[in-house]
């Protein structure tokens, strides 16, 4: 998925997450250069899975229907008044986006860490179908040791999900990219 996060001088917060489903979507490209999506893969199909889980009837294919989506643009603001912390988050990585955004929110709102640190800290993602716990390269070794010591299978991967964010505290605004991304960039108007 692709993310765009904007906190503008007009006091609007905008988060856009868009996708073609798989990389390059269906791989079909029109003569005018449009790459077409493969979004039908996000529907749940009968007899498709080999594990113990079953396809969801709620997410079955029907004409005109939208498939289940893990695109999660997220906005946070003070629950009362206008003073305080505003956040704008986006993530890629399918269902890993849900795990990643949850952990970033815990880092910022519970531990009161700054956004930059919150995005850079290691993250985990439990695979509910295989019961394997995936962790990224920034995840602390001592925490991995804890999981392995209790019998949890852990799979370490380079990147689970890229989470970008923007934060506004009163009139101070900052845009921060996930340090795991080489290409992303956050910029601020001073």
């Amino acid at each position: 998925a692709s993310q765009v996060l904007v906190m503008g001088p007009d006091d609007y917060i905008v988060a856009v997450v868009s996708s073609l489903n798989r990389p390059f979507g269906s791989g079909i490209m029109t003569p005018s250069g449009i790459l077409l999506n493969s979004q039908m893969l996000d529907f749940s199909w009968m007899n498709e899975t080999e594990d113990h889980s079953s396809p969801s009837l709620m997410n079955s294919i029907q004409p005109g229907k939208r498939p289940l989506s893990f695109l999660l643009p997220t906005v946070v603001r003070p629950s009362e008044g206008m003073c305080g912390t505003y956040l704008c988050l986006g993530a890629n990585g399918g269902d890993k986006a849900l795990s990643s955004i949850t952990q970033v929110l815990v880092n910022v709102l519970t531990y009161n860490k700054n956004l930059s640190e919150s995005l850079s800290l290691g993250r985990l993602h439990p695979q509910i179908q295989s019961n394997i716990l995936e962790v990224d390269s920034e995840f602390p070794e001592e925490d991995i040791n804890y999981f392995t010591s209790i019998g949890q299978q852990v799979n370490k991967v380079e990147v689970l999900s890229l989470v970008h964010g923007a934060r506004r505290t009163n009139n101070f605004i900052i845009g921060v990219k996930d340090p795991r991304s080489m290409d992303a960039a956050g910029a601020t108007i001073l």
């Binding site: 904007v6 005018s32 979004q39 005109g64 939208r66 946070v76 269902d95 509910i128």
Partner: protein, 474 residues
């Protein structure tokens, strides 16, 4: 006599530090005036005055003592004495001496004060309205984050041109489709969450792809690997961004698309992410010739930092800028897409394009740690995120708590909400989803799930039945 009077006045004025008239022009009492006009006549009144003035003129030459004695002469020490002084020119009165001519002066002052207050109130109200409803007078900060530095710069450029935040997001999203065509583009879809800080209003603009009307599950299941056209949903990107622009745009649509088209026309450096994605698909043979021509020129994948142009996308964006989204959903572009999809075994039709609609909805929300968290409603998994936060808020997550406990809580919470997320879908096709979402996001449900997590050792079996979330080899 008049000359004598004038002489007395001028001699007093010569040595007195105070204005003579200020002493002699004590307000006349109404009774005194009545006496002048009535019984005594003007002559006796004038004589009385002259006697007074003559008395004043005989006083000491020291101005202070002169003033003191003058006032003592004119003002009785008390009202009781006043009536007993028959020879005094002052008489007791029962009327307000200032109620006559002076009342006119008071009315004037009232008018002035009222006018000033009205003006000040009007100005204050206008200023307050300007603060809340007018354009910001101070151009304070803004921030843009995207997956590519060039697109971030474009977003900043739009903000600097006085474009709205949504304008910047539209331009940057289109730019992302040019620089990172493996992740997004006009052939795809997405979702936008817009929040107005001042009004505390939020909107979700859902432009996700929809299933074609002629799609059949069985056909898809059997042939999706050999017929990639079956995987294509109706693209929503162009219509979604246009809908957002209609509601929140400030710069002209044509200008926004022109800015994105310039990126495609002028060229850019291949990102690491795109190069890696091309490398990953290099060996696959089911990609179209057009695809290989652009991303695998001479059979070799593009490398990071290589310069490339996309004049085809620039022309398309200019077309959408001038012709609007109808150029995409009911024109030659539509025919082109349908033709390609049919060529690869798909089922898209003109009807799919003409019936495509963007959905505008309210986000789901919760309060976590004193903050309002907003996320898209189904078919997006926003309710699962809300549930996760509701569960986690009840745990005592602090830096003082053992790290093992926190890891256990977070991991189990994520397992639960991922399972719950798998039960979601498009609520327009199943009304029960809306009810289950309400239950899922309730605090009582979160309390129940938290107790389950806390009462079992880690790693535990899942508490919630889950559905498959993966299709095909992915």
């Amino acid at each position: 006599a008049a000359e004598k009077e004038a002489s007395q006045q001028s001699s007093l004025g010569a040595y007195s530090p105070v204005d003579y008239m200020s002493i002699t022009s004590f307000p006349r009492l109404p009774e005194e005036e009545a006496a002048v006009a009535g019984g005594g006549g003007s002559e006796s009144c004038l004589r009385s005055r002259k006697e007074e003035d003559a008395f004043l003129g005989e006083q000491e030459t020291d101005p202070d003592s002169f003033l003191k004695s003058a006032r003592l002469q004119r003002l009785p020490s008390s009202s009781s004495e006043m009536g007993s002084q028959d020879g005094s020119p002052l008489q007791e009165t029962t009327k307000d001496p200032f109620s006559g001519d002076c009342s006119c002066r008071q009315d004037g002052l009232t008018v002035i004060i009222t006018a000033c207050l009205t003006f000040a109130t009007g100005v204050t109200v206008a200023l307050i309205m300007q603060i809340y409803f007018g354009d910001p007078q101070i151009f304070h900060q803004g921030a843009v984050v995207t997956d590519a530095a060039r697109c971030t710069a474009l977003g900043i450029e739009v903000l600097n041109k006085q474009g709205s935040s949504v304008d910047a997001a539209i331009a940057s999203a289109l730019c992302s489709g040019i620089l990172n065509p493996h992740t997004a583009g006009l052939g795809g879809g997405g979702v936008m969450l817009v929040h107005d800080i001042r009004k505390n209003e939020s909107r979700v603009i859902d432009f996700q792809e929809t299933a074609p009307f002629n799609i059949q599950e069985e056909g898809l299941r059997k042939a999706w690997e050999t017929k990639p056209g079956l995987l294509v949903g109706v693209p929503g990107m162009a219509k979604g961004l246009h809908e957002a622009h209609l509601s929140y745009g400030r710069l002209p649509w044509r200008q926004l698309l022109g800015l994105a088209a310039d990126v495609a026309q002028d060229g850019f450096n291949v990102t690491h992410d795109l190069a890696m994605a091309i490398k990953d698909v290099k060996e696959q043979h089911n990609y179209s010739d057009r695809f290989k021509e652009i991303f695998l020129p001479d059979g070799q994948p593009l490398l990071p930092g290589m310069f490339m142009r996309r004049p085809d996308l620039a022309a398309l964006l200019h077309l959408l800028g001038s012709g609007g989204v109808s150029a995409f959903y009911s024109g030659n572009v539509t025919q082109e897409i349908i033709s390609e999809v049919l060529k690869y075994g798909g089922t898209l039709s003109e009807e799919d394009f003409s019936n495509y609609t963007v959905l505008v909805d309210n986000p789901v929300h919760t309060i976590y740690q004193g903050h309002l968290v907003l996320s898209p409603s189904p078919p997006h998994v926003g309710p699962a995120l809300i549930t996760a936060l509701n569960i986690l808020e009840g745990f005592n997550i602090t830096s003082q708590v053992a790290r093992d406990n926190i890891l256990h809580w977070i991991t189990e919470t994520l397992k639960v909400v991922l399972a719950l997320a798998s039960s979601l879908g498009d609520p327009f096709y199943n009304a029960s989803i809306s009810h289950s979402v309400e239950d899922m996001m309730s605090k009582s449900k979160a309390n129940f799930l938290r107790q389950q997590i806390d009462s079992q050792p880690y790693p535990s079996e899942l508490h919630i039945p889950h559905f498959s979330m993966e299709s095909g080899p992915s």
